[in-house]
C-alpha cells in the first residue's frame, strides 16, 4: 500500500500530511477483512448486476472473494493455486495459475493493484490523480496486450492504507467495480479462510 504514495511521488505531486498518514498506515496492513460489493456492467447482459459478499486479503498473495446470490461465486487465490466455485451451478474449478497464462495475467494484475509494487506499476500504468479526499487515482495501461483489454483502472484509497474501491473499465465497454466497506485491518484470519470447504 505504501506504493501508492510512491506512485504519487513519481507522478510529481508532493505529498501532504494526509498522504503521509496513509503511507504510514499502508506499511502496516498485512491482512484485510471487509464486506465486498461488486457491480458488473456488461454489454451482453444489458443491466447492472450487483452482488455482495465478503473479502479477505493476506499478504503476500492470498485472497478470498465470496459473493452471494444466484450468480454468486467463491474465488480463492493462494499463491499459485486458484479455486473458483460457482454456487448456483454447484461447480468448482481448480487451477494452477502457472499452467494457464491468461488466468495468471489477470490474477497478477489483480494483486498488482491490490498490493501495489511502485516500480512494477510504474512500468505498466500511467498515473493520474483525480481526487484528494479521498485519494482517487486513475491508472491507464501504457501499451501491449493489457491496453487492448483494459481502458483504465480507477482506485480509491482509504486513509488506513488500503484500496477502498476499484473500478476496471474494459475496452469493450464492460465495467467492474469492487467496493470494500466495513473493513477491518490486520484481523487474524483463520487458516481455513483460503481453503474451499466441501459443500
Amino acid at each position: 500500500m505504501t506504493a501508492w504514495l510512491a506512485l504519487v511521488l513519481l507522478a510529481g505531486t508532493p505529498p501532504d500530511g494526509g498522504f503521509r498518514a496513509i503511507a504510514d498506515q499502508a506499511r502496516n496492513v498485512h491482512t484485510l477483512r471487509a464486506r465486498m460489493l461488486q457491480e458488473k456492467q456488461l454489454a451482453v447482459l444489458g443491466e447492472v448486476i450487483r452482488s455482495s459478499g465478503t473479502f479477505l486479503f493476506e499478504r503476500p498473495r492470498r485472497l478470498r472473494m465470496d459473493l452471494g446470490g444466484e450468480d454468486g461465486t467463491v474465488l480463492i487465490i493462494d499463491g499459485d493455486r486458484m479455486v473458483t466455485h460457482y454456487k448456483g451451478l454447484g461447480k468448482t474449478e481448480r487451477l494452477r495459475l502457472s499452467s494457464d497464462e491468461r488466468a495468471s495475467r489477470i490474477v497478477d494484475h489483480l494483486f498488482l493493484i491490490l498490493e501495489g509494487d511502485p516500480i512494477a506499476l510504474g512500468e505498466v500504468y500511467d498515473l493520474e490523480v483525480r481526487g484528494r479526499e479521498p485519494l482517487q487515482i486513475r491508472l491507464t495501461p501504457k501499451s501491449g496486450s493489457l491496453a487492448k483489454a483494459i481502458r483504465h483502472v480507477d482506485a480509491e484509497l482509504d486513509r488506513r492504507g488500503f484500496v477502498a474501491a476499484i473500478t476496471v473499465s474494459e475496452t469493450n465497454g464492460d465495467r467492474t467495480t469492487w467496493r470494500f466497506v466495513d473493513a477491518v485491518v490486520n484481523a487474524r484470519l483463520p487458516a481455513s479462510s483460503f481453503v474451499l470447504a466441501a459443500p
Binding site: A43, T73, Y86, S99, R102, I106, A149, T176
Partner: protein, 804 residues
C-alpha cells in the same frame, strides 16, 4: 572304428608330447585372441527382437509410440504432502540438467496446451462430437447459458467476455475434456495442470531418457541421474520418497543381476564340478589332468563367440559356463576306463581310448546334434547357446584327446585303478539286470503317470515372468499401481492407410470398436482431427438448420437475461463454419503430439499411420482383437499381444525343436549301431526322461518359457550320452564294463548337475529357469540310464533262444 582312431591319436600324442602341447597351446592362444573380440550384449531386447517380424514390430511400436521407454517417477508425499511439490521440482531440476534425459516434467506444458487450444478454437464446432440438436435444445441451452452467465459475473472474468460469448455451449471445453484421458493411469488427475494423483499425495514425474533402455550403459546413466535426484530430494524434502519404474530401471537391475549370475556361475561351476570330480575319484592330483581340457573347451567356446561377430548376451555366457560340467564328462569316462589293475598308463590309456572311444564320439556327436536343433529356434539367444555350447563340447573332446595323454603319464607310470566301489550306480545296474520285467514295467507305469500331466504342459510368453525385478522394484511397482494405476495396461492400435484422411476414418472405426469391446481411456487423435466424412456430417448437422439453431439460442438468451445481439460473434463463427473449409489436420495433430509427448501420426511404407492409445482390462483384449479384425490396416500393439505372440512361438518351437533333435539323434544311433534294438535301448532313458521332465514341470505348475524351452533339445543331446555309454557296455570286452560305465555316468551326471546347479540358484529368473529345467532333465535321464538299458538288455538276452 572310431575307437581305434582315438587309440591312434592317444598313442601319437603320448609319443610326441612336445608338438602336441605346442599345437594345443597354439589353439588356445588363437581362440583366446578371438575371444577378446567378444562383446557382451547389454541390450536385453536382443533376447527376443530377432524372434520374428511381428515381435520386432511390437517392440518397436511399444518403444516409439507408448510410454514404455519412459521413466515414470512417483514422488510419494504420503508422509509429508506439503513437501511433494518441492521434491518433484527438485527431481525435474536434476534430470533436466542431466545428459541422460531429454526432458522431465510433472506439469502439462501450459504453452503447448495453449497452442493446441488456439488451433482448436476456430474449429471447435466441427470438433464438438455432441449433436447440435441436443446441445441447442431448450433445457441444455438454459443450463449452458446459466453457466456462461455465472462465469461472466465471476470476479476474475475481466477480459474473458469475448471468448466466453463466442463459445456459449463450451465446445472447446468439451473437446479438451476428451483429451484428458491418460491411458493406463486412471489414478492420474491432470486437471490442475500438474500430474497429481487423485488422492493428492503423489506427483508423477514423466522423464524421457535420451538413451535406449535396453542398452546397459544408457540405462545405467539414466538410473545414476535418478539416484542423484534422490539425493537432492532428500535435501529439500526429506520425507518424500522417489519410486522410479520403467524400462530403464528394470533393465539396469536385470543387467546387474545377470552380471552377478555370470560371475557366480562361472566360479561356482568350476568349484563344484572339480569338487565332485575329486569326491568320486578321490585323487586330487587328477584335477591337474581334468583342468586343461576344460580350459581348452572354454577357449574354443570363446573363439566361437569371437567369430560370431555379434554381441553375446549374459544369459548365453551363464549357460556356456554351466556347460563346463559337460566338458569334464569325457575326462571322467576316459579315466574311469583306464583303470585296469597292474597296467601302466602307457599301455592302459590307449586301450581305454579304444574301448570308450566309440561311446565318447557317439556321445559328443549326439550332443552336437541335440544342440544343433537349437539353431532352428526363433529366440536368438538359444541359437547362440547352440553355437557356444557346441564349441565347448568339440573343444572339450579334442582337449581330452590332447591333454590327458600328455598329462596323465606325468602323474606316474602306473595309475592306481579307479575304485569303482559298490555304490548306487552298481546297485542300480545289478538290480536292473536281476529284475528286468519289474524295471521295465515300473518305467512304463511311471511314463504313463507322468504323460498325463505332460499333456497339459503350458507355455508362457510373458517376459515379466522371467525378467526378474528386484524386491525394491516390485515394491515401487505396487505402490505406483495402487496410486496411479498400471501403466502396463496401456496399449494402442496403429492404423495404416494410403493417405491421412483414410487413416483418420479407420481410426474413428477403431475407436468405436474399442468402445464396443469395453475398453476405456481412449485418446484418439480423431478428437482433434476427425475424418473428412465426420466433418462433413457435423457440418451438415450445424448448417442444415442454422437459422433455427440461432433462433433457439436467441430465445434462450433472452430468457437468461442476455441482451439482443449478445451472440453476434457466435453467429459469425457459425457462418464461417458453414461456408469455410476445415484446415489440414496435420498441424493440429503435430500440436497434439507435442502436448502428449508422443507422435500420433507419421509416414509408413503403406502411406500414413495414426495411433490410437487406449487402456482397459486385459481380459477384454481378445474381444478387442476380434472387433478390430474387420478394420483394414489396424494392428493391436500391447504388451499382452507381444506375450501372446511369444507364447505361440514357444508352443511352435517346443515340438519342432524336440522333434528335430529327437529324430536326428535317433537317426544317428541307428546309423552308428545298425541295430534298432540297441538304438532303442540307448534312446529309452532320454525318451522317458522327456516325458518325466514335462510331466513334473506341468504338475509343478511350471510353464515352458522362452528360456527353458531349450530343455528338450538339450535333453536329446546331453541326456542321450548316458544311455549311449551304458548301452555300449554290451560290446565292451571289459568284464567290469557295466560297473565302470555306470560309475562314469553317475560322476558325469553329478558334474553336469553341479554345473547347471549354479544356474538354478541364479538371481535372474531367465537364467534360473534354464538351470532348474535342465537339472530335472539331466537327473531323470541319468537315473533312467542306470536302469533301463541294463534291464532291456537283460530282457533281450532272455528272449533270445538258447543254443541247443
Amino acid at each position: 572304428m572310431t575307437g581305434r582312431l582315438l587309440e591312434s591319436i592317444c598313442r601319437l600324442v603320448m609319443r610326441r608330447p612336445g608338438p602336441a602341447s605346442a599345437l594345443g597351446l597354439l589353439v588356445v592362444l588363437l581362440c583366446g585372441g578371438l575371444a577378446t573380440r567378444v562383446r557382451i550384449a547389454d541390450d536385453a531386447r536382443s533376447l527376443i527382437v530377432g524372434a520374428d517380424v511381428e515381435v520386432a514390430r511390437q517392440l518397436q511400436a511399444l518403444s516409439e509410440m507408448t510410454a514404455a521407454d519412459q521413466l515414470l517417477i512417483q514422488v510419494d508425499g504420503r508422509n509429508a504432502p506439503e513437501q511433494v511439490e518441492a521434491a518433484a521440482a527438485a527431481v525435474v531440476e536434476v534430470l533436466s540438467a542431466s545428459d541422460a534425459f531429454v526432458a522431465a516434467t510433472f506439469e502439462v506444458d501450459a504453452g503447448k496446451r495453449a497452442a493446441l487450444g488456439e488451433l482448436l478454437f476456430s474449429r471447435r464446432l466441427l470438433l464438438d462430437p455432441r449433436d447440435p440438436e441436443e446441445t441447442m435444445a431448450p433445457v441444455a441451452l438454459a443450463r449452458s447459458l446459466a453457466e456462461l452467465r455465472a462465469k461472466l459475473l465471476a470476479p476474475h472474468a475481466i477480459g474473458r467476455r469475448g471468448l466466453l460469448m463466442r463459445d456459449p455451449i463450451d465446445s472447446l471445453g468439451t473437446v479438451l475434456g476428451l483429451l484428458s484421458a491418460a491411458p493406463g493411469l486412471p489414478g492420474l488427475d491432470a486437471t490442475s495442470g500438474r500430474l497429481l494423483s487423485r488422492d493428492g499425495t503423489s506427483i508423477l514425474v514423466l522423464a524421457t531418457p535420451s538413451g535406449d533402455p535396453f542398452r546397459g550403459a544408457d540405462a545405467a546413466a539414466s538410473m545414476a541421474a535418478v539416484e542423484a535426484a534422490a539425493v537432492r530430494v532428500h535435501e529439500v524434502a526429506p520425507d518424500a520418497v522417489l519410486r522410479p519404474i520403467g524400462a530403464h530401471r528394470f533393465a539396469h537391475d536385470a543387467e546387474r543381476m545377470v552380471r552377478h549370475d555370470v560371475h557366480t556361475s562361472a566360479g561356482l561351476t568350476l568349484v563344484l564340478i572339480l569338487g565332485v570330480f575329486v569326491a568320486f575319484f578321490r585323487r586330487p592330483r587328477l584335477v591337474l589332468v581334468a583342468l586343461p581340457p576344460l580350459a581348452f573347451g572354454a577357449a574354443v567356446a570363446g573363439g566361437v563367440a569371437g567369430v560370431l561377430g555379434e554381441p553375446v548376451h549374459g544369459i548365453v555366457l551363464a549357460f556356456s559356463a554351466a556347460c563346463l560340467g559337460l566338458s569334464i564328462d569325457y575326462t571322467i569316462h576316459l579315466l574311469a576306463a583306464a583303470s585296469a589293475p597292474g597296467a601302466t598308463i602307457a599301455d592302459e590309456l590307449p586301450v581305454a581310448a579304444r574301448r570308450v572311444g566309440g561311446s565318447l564320439t557317439l556321445a559328443a556327436t549326439s550332443t552336437l546334434v541335440g544342440l544343433g536343433a537349437l539353431l532352428f529356434a526363433h529366440v536368438p539367444a538359444l541359437r547362440q547357446m547352440a553355437l557356444l555350447a557346441g564349441g565347448a563340447v568339440v573343444g572339450a573332446l579334442a582337449g581330452n584327446l590332447l591333454w590327458v595323454p600328455i598329462l596323465l603319464p606325468r602323474l606316474g607310470s602306473r595309475l592306481k585303478p579307479v575304485r569303482v566301489e559298490r555304490g548306487p550306480w552298481s546297485t542300480s545296474v545289478a538290480a536292473a539286470q536281476a529284475h528286468p520285467w519289474l524295471v521295465v514295467t515300473g518305467a512304463a507305469a511311471l511314463g504313463i503317470c507322468l504323460a498325463i500331466p505332460a499333456m497339459h504342459t503350458t507355455f508362457d510368453g510373458d517376459l515379466r515372468n522371467i525378467d526378474t525385478h528386484t524386491a525394491a522394484a516390485q515394491a515401487d511397482e505396487r505402490a505406483f499401481e495402487s496410486t496411479f494405476g498400471d501403466a502396463g495396461q496401456a496399449g494402442l492400435v496403429v492404423v495404416e492407410a494410403g493417405d491421412l484422411d483414410t487413416a483418420l476414418a479407420r481410426a474413428e472405426a477403431v475407436e468405436a470398436a474399442l468402445q464396443s469391446a469395453g475398453l476405456a481411456q481412449i485418446l484418439s487423435p480423431t478428437v482433434v482431427a476427425p475424418s473428412a466424412a465426420t466433418i462433413a456430417a457435423r457440418k451438415q448437422r450445424w448448417c442444415a438448420h442454422k437459422d433455427d439453431t440461432l433462433g433457439a439460442l436467441y430465445t434462450a438468451a433472452a430468457t437468461a437475461g442476455f441482451a439482443r445481439g449478445a451472440f453476434a460473434a457466435f453467429a459469425e463463427d457459425l457462418d464461417a463454419t458453414c461456408t469455410g473449409s476445415m484446415a489440414d489436420p496435420r498441424e493440429t495433430l503435430a500440436a497434439f503430439g507435442e502436448l502428449t509427448g508422443r507422435s500420433v501420426v507419421g509416414d509408413s511404407a503403406a502411406g500414413t499411420w495414426v495411433a490410437v492409445p487406449f487402456a482397459g482390462e486385459l481380459s477384454r483384449l481378445p474381444l478387442a482383437r476380434e472387433v478390430l479384425r474387420p478394420i483394414a490396416g489396424a494392428t493391436l500393439v500391447h504388451r499382452r499381444e507381444l506375450t501372446t505372440h511369444l507364447t505361440e512361438l514357444i508352443a511352435a518351437d517346443v515340438p519342432r525343436l524336440a522333434g528335430i533333435a529327437g529324430a536326428a539323434v535317433a537317426l544317428l544311433l541307428l546309423l552308428a549301431y545298425r541295430r534298432p534294438g540297441r538304438a532303442l535301448r540307448a534312446l529309452a532313458p532320454v525318451l522317458l526322461s522327456g516325458v518325466a521332465t514335462l510331466g513334473i514341470l506341468a504338475a509343478s505348475d511350471v510353464a515352458l518359457n522362452l528360456m527353458n524351452l531349450c530343455v528338450l533339445p538339450l535333453l536329446a543331446g546331453l541326456g542321450i550320452d548316458y544311455g549311449v555309454v551304458v548301452t555300449d557296455a554290451e560290446t565292451d570286452p571289459d568284464p567290469y564294463a557295466l560297473q565302470h560305465r555306470a560309475f562314469s555316468v553317475s560322476v558325469a551326471a553329478a558334474t553336469t548337475l553341479a554345473g547347471f546347479g549354479s544356474l538354478a540358484v541364479a538371481q535372474y529368473g531367465a537364467i534360473a529357469t534354464i538351470g532348474r529345467a535342465v537339472l530335472l532333465a539331466i537327473t531323470t535321464s541319468a537315473v533312467f540310464a542306470l536302469w533301463l538299458p541294463p534291464a532291456l538288455a537283460a530282457l533281450t538276452r532272455r528272449s533270445r533262444p538258447r543254443p541247443l
